[in-house]
């Protein structure tokens, strides 16, 4: 290390590394989220309060990660990745949870290693890709493929389709950002299409069922198709301006499944109508746009790839969840980021934004 280099990290003066624009929009999003949550939980102020506490913890995580020097992140990445991978194996062996094993019971808290992997994998990949010049060579690509495939496979085995889709997508996103050649991309798509039947055979029964009902929800209107149909009814009946806060019949008469978690956007769509939906989508787009802008301004490839991938992960959350509740995508258990009830993913996502802010604050100020 060169001692003459300017040190933008922790120094004699502790720099404020948070981006006011991004932070402001995130806070607005979370506040709106609590508003919708209040309605979706049948006005359970206790649940809203718990959610606010979790979000605050997420903000703390955001601030902490923003101030971690990138050097440390790079240093820790392999260990973090390895530790998380081991925990995923442990989950399969000792995990708890209904239907699918997703949690590790650590006595005091229950921990979901697949969430940590959402940070660990991008960190690991960014470190790997940054070791050599871009676009990545075959060796690096092979390494990357193994690093992505291992956790995805372990999470599919839990089984947790939603998280593995998110992880796989973020991994591929990073490879794409790193300059993966187009020829290779086309080849992968073709290979995937060819492998689809094989993949189909390896899916769980319930996963196949979900995909089939997605293709034709009316084939099972009271079973698997119920969710999609009722969600579309909630959305469509909201109309332009909605039925009003706390007044959605689909949400409050139990037609909507899990209105406070995965289907919370349906509640918003029903009660606030297209106006509410459009505003929310614009807010998400602005957050993502700001995130991508900040990512592109990072000082090195490590920062750009890492920040870009973390923002992309957030985007995939939004797209999959909103696509699902409007019937564009099959029902996969992906929450609406920072709005759905539940803490782990919110903490991960906010920590990710912390990393983005930290990297951005260390950008080069060039003329």
């Amino acid at each position: 290390m060169n001692a003459i280099m300017p040190r933008p990290g922790f120094g004699p003066t502790l720099r404020w590394r948070l981006d006011p624009w991004l932070l402001g929009m995130l806070v607005i999003l979370m506040a709106l989220g609590c508003l919708v949550l209040y309605s979706a939980t049948e006005q359970n102020i206790g649940m809203v309060w718990r959610q606010a506490v979790r979000l605050s913890m997420g903000l703390v995580a955001l601030a902490v990660f923003a101030h971690l020097p990138p050097r440390l992140l790079r240093l820790w990445a392999p260990w973090l990745y390895l530790a998380t991978l081991l925990m995923l194996v442990a989950v399969l062996l000792f995990g708890v949870g209904r239907g699918a094993q997703r949690w590790l019971d650590l006595g005091i808290i229950r921990f979901q290693p697949s969430e940590a992997m959402k940070l660990a994998l991008p960190l690991m990949l960014a470190m790997l890709l940054d070791r050599r010049r871009l676009p990545p060579d075959w060796f690096t690509l092979g390494m990357a493929a193994v690093l992505i495939a291992l956790p995805v496979a372990l999470i599919v085995m839990q089984p947790d389709l939603g998280t593995s889709v998110l992880l796989g997508a973020s991994g591929l996103c990073m490879l794409f950002l790193a300059g993966l050649r187009w020829r290779l991309i086309v080849a992968m798509v073709v290979a995937l299409a060819a492998a689809a039947p094989l993949l189909w055979l390896n899916l769980h029964q319930y996963q196949r069922h979900r995909i089939l009902t997605f293709l034709n929800p009316e084939s099972d209107p009271l079973g698997q198709g119920w969710n999609i149909i009722q969600s579309k009814i909630a959305v469509g009946s909201g109309g332009l301006t909605g039925k009003g806060w706390l007044a959605g019949s689909q949400s409050h008469l139990e037609f909507l499944p899990e209105p406070h978690t995965d289907f919370i956007f349906s509640v918003l769509a029903e009660e606030f109508g297209f106006v509410g939906v459009a505003s929310m989508l614009v807010l998400y787009a602005a957050i993502i746009g700001r995130g991508m802008y900040m990512a592109s301004k990072c000082r090195d490839s490590f920062g750009r790839l890492l920040a870009g991938t973390l923002v992309f992960l957030f985007f995939v959350y939004v797209a999959v969840n909103v696509g699902m509740i409007s019937g564009l995508l099959p029902v996969v258990g992906v929450p609406l980021p920072l709005v759905s009830y539940g803490g782990t993913s919110a903490v991960t996502l906010l920590a990710g934004f912390g990393i983005v802010m930290g990297l951005y604050s260390r950008r080069r100020f060039m003329g």
């Binding site: 070791r131 676009p135 950002l177 009722q230 009814i233 009946s237 008469l253 787009a285 090195d300 985007f315």
Partner: protein
């Protein structure tokens, strides 16, 4: 600007940055496209197809429930309840809310017995039910069954114990043929009565008053718009119009007289009809044996139904309304009136009975019931002793046309129009009827036996009672009714002395020294007049009472003749008519007359006669 040591190649920072920036632009464009796609999707759902989904949301949320009206009660003339509505419980299932319907039904049948019939009915309902409709698996649960189900209910999602009102007939077989019963509504009923009116109704009048006055008893269904949750549970009522209960019906019938009439027949199958002479009110109307109408309300079991169907006394058969009997000698007063009116006889005309009658030029003998004959008899004695020869001769002198006309005036061969379904018309013997029915001319021998109520004549007990009421009212009476009063009318006109002459004969039947029914005189507190009769079961024209007297105990029961009695009381001012028919009872004097006398005595004791004297 190499920050780590393991770089194998010299990196072109600028080139790399451009590559990554290019990829960033591409990703941002893709993201933007996805947001546009999502926005377009929501615009489509929320603005484009809003009305479709709004309607489906309301469909989800709002259910229209038809509310059944309470069925009107049926009461006797004193306001005693003959048909009522009782609270009961039924086991209902909403298939959409029941995961594993088959296992649930299996588990239920461990708790309460579910018959194959009930399962079939459930499946039928299921095929044409709407979504989230509750379908009855078993109705009329016992208290014990309700308790057993209530304990297990949390383990049986979609299963409900629903309270409802069920029809109940507290007097069972006593009124089964008058009041009738309600049964489960079927496709035919719905077509007949109108689907809209019966949307909430499960039962409908199938026979008797229940059927005849269905339109009054049923009432108007109410309607309820309710908001429900996804489980179909009603959360609040948005709008409601109450059902209008059906009308209560007050019958002219007297429950206690009905009871007395039912018991008066003893063990015989038969019918008893008691009418008010002046008004036509039906005071008692018995067809015996009856059956328990409550069995039919919840769907009678195959076993119960077949034992009713194959019972040798045919309890399901309505004898007073659909039972066609030969009138036998009960027709004689009407023949006498025809003879008096035609001048064929006077009250004093005397005929010699040597035991049989022959048409000139024919060898066939028409017998008297007393082997040696009755000697010289006038009209009074001919009626009192039921002398066949007198009426053979009178009938053959009158001719069938005069007889037919007289019988027609008294309503023979014509339904009385009583307000009950299923009345038959009987048969009035005429030349034209015979030609139409058999394509044959009328033979003189047939006129002879028509004179003693045999041959073709067929009456129902109700018809005979109505004819007897016209006789007792000296030609004036009102058609019989149970609920809606009829108008009194003069049916027949005769000179007073003719009525007097016939009345004298009918009085002598009971009070004359040789009257056929003289045995009942001591049972009576008011003076009664009447006529015995015997309807043949095993044809031997002319044998009449003789067979009854002689062979009653020797013949197998199902070959014994039917005993008839038609009478009225009090003699001076006739108010009540009683007709009794005892199937296979042998002679009219032996079984039917005492039964009628018991009814008259009961009516007297119940104050039905005195009370009616006032207006």
């Amino acid at each position: 600007m190499i920050t780590h040591e393991s770089s194998a190649t010299i990196r072109n920072e600028r080139e790399e940055s451009q590559l990554v920036q290019g990829r960033f632009r591409f990703v941002v464009v893709v993201m933007l496209a996805v947001f546009v796609l999502l926005g377009w999707r929501f615009a489509n759902l929320q603005v484009g197809e809003h009305e479709l989904y709004a309607a489906r949301a309301d469909d989800n949320r709002i259910r229209l429930n038809a509310l059944p009206p309470n069925r009107g009660l049926i009461l006797d003339r004193q306001g005693r309840v003959l048909a009522e509505n009782r609270p009961a419980y039924r086991l209902a299932i909403v298939p959409e809310r029941t995961p594993g319907l088959d296992q649930t039904i299996e588990r239920l049948s461990d708790l309460v017995p579910v018959t194959a019939e009930e399962l079939r009915r459930f499946e039928r309902q299921r095929q044409r039910s709407r979504r989230f409709e509750s379908l009855t698996l078993k109705s009329n649960l016992s208290d014990e069954e309700v308790a057993r189900l209530a304990i297990q209910r949390h383990r049986l999602p979609g299963v409900e114990i629903e309270p409802y009102l069920t029809r109940h007939y507290p007097h069972g077989e006593l009124l089964s043929h008058v009041v009738g019963y309600v049964g489960r509504i079927d496709e035919r009923d719905l077509r007949r009565l109108g689907r809209e009116q019966y949307r909430a109704t499960s039962h409908v009048g199938k026979t008797g008053i229940e059927r005849y006055y269905e339109h009054l008893l049923h009432g108007q269904p109410g309607l309820e718009r309710v908001e429900t949750n996804a489980q179909g549970r009603v959360l609040r009522v948005l709008e409601r119009s109450d059902p209008v209960p059906g009308d209560d019906l007050v019958l002219s019938l007297d429950l206690e007289l009905q009871q007395a009439a039912y018991e008066a027949l003893g063990d015989f199958a038969g019918a008893v009809v008691a009418l008010e002479v002046e008004t036509g009110e039906v005071l008692a109307l018995v067809s015996k044996p009856g059956f328990d109408p409550n069995l039919f309300v919840h769907g009678i079991s195959q076993f119960d139904y077949s034992s009713l169907l194959h019972h040798h006394q045919r309890p399901l058969f309505n004898r007073f309304l659909a039972g066609g009997y030969e009138p036998g000698s009960t027709v004689k007063p009407f023949i006498a009136l025809a003879g008096l009116e035609a001048g064929t006889i006077t009250p004093e005309t005397r005929v010699f009975s040597r035991g049989w009658f022959e048409l000139p030029g024919h060898s066939r003998r028409y017998r008297d019931w007393r082997r040696g004959g009755h000697g010289w008899v006038d009209l009074e004695l001919a009626l009192a002793e039921s002398v066949n020869v007198y009426f053979y001769q009178l009938a053959s002198e009158l001719g069938i046309d005069r007889i037919s006309r007289e019988l027609a005036l008294f309503g023979i061969g014509r339904a009385t129009g009583l307000d009950l379904p299923g009345e038959i018309s009987g048969v009035l013997p005429t030349r034209s009827w015979k030609r139409a029915t058999f394509g044959e001319p009328w033979y003189p021998g047939e006129t002879v036996i028509t004179g003693i109520g045999q041959g073709f004549t067929v009456v129902t007990p109700l018809q005979l009672a109505h004819a007897t009421a016209a006789l007792a009212g000296r030609g004036t009476t009102a058609p019989p009714w149970l609920v809606v009063p009829t108008e009194s009318a003069r049916m027949v006109e005769h000179a007073d002395e003719y009525w007097d002459a016939v009345f004298d004969g009918l009085e002598a039947v009971i009070y004359g020294p040789s009257g056929t029914a003289r045995a009942v005189a001591r049972e009576l507190s008011v003076r009664m007049a009447g006529k015995t009769g015997t309807a043949q079961v095993f044809g031997r024209p002319g044998d009449e009472e003789e067979v009854a007297e002689r062979e009653h105990d020797e013949l197998p029961e199902h070959l014994r003749n039917h005993a008839l009695f038609a009478g009225f009381a009090p003699l001076e001012n006739p108010q009540i008519v009683v007709v009794a028919v005892a199937e296979h009872g042998g002679g009219g004097a032996r079984v039917a007359a005492p039964a009628a006398a018991r009814v008259v005595r009961a009516a007297t004791e119940l104050g039905l006669l005195r009370a009616e004297e006032q207006p």
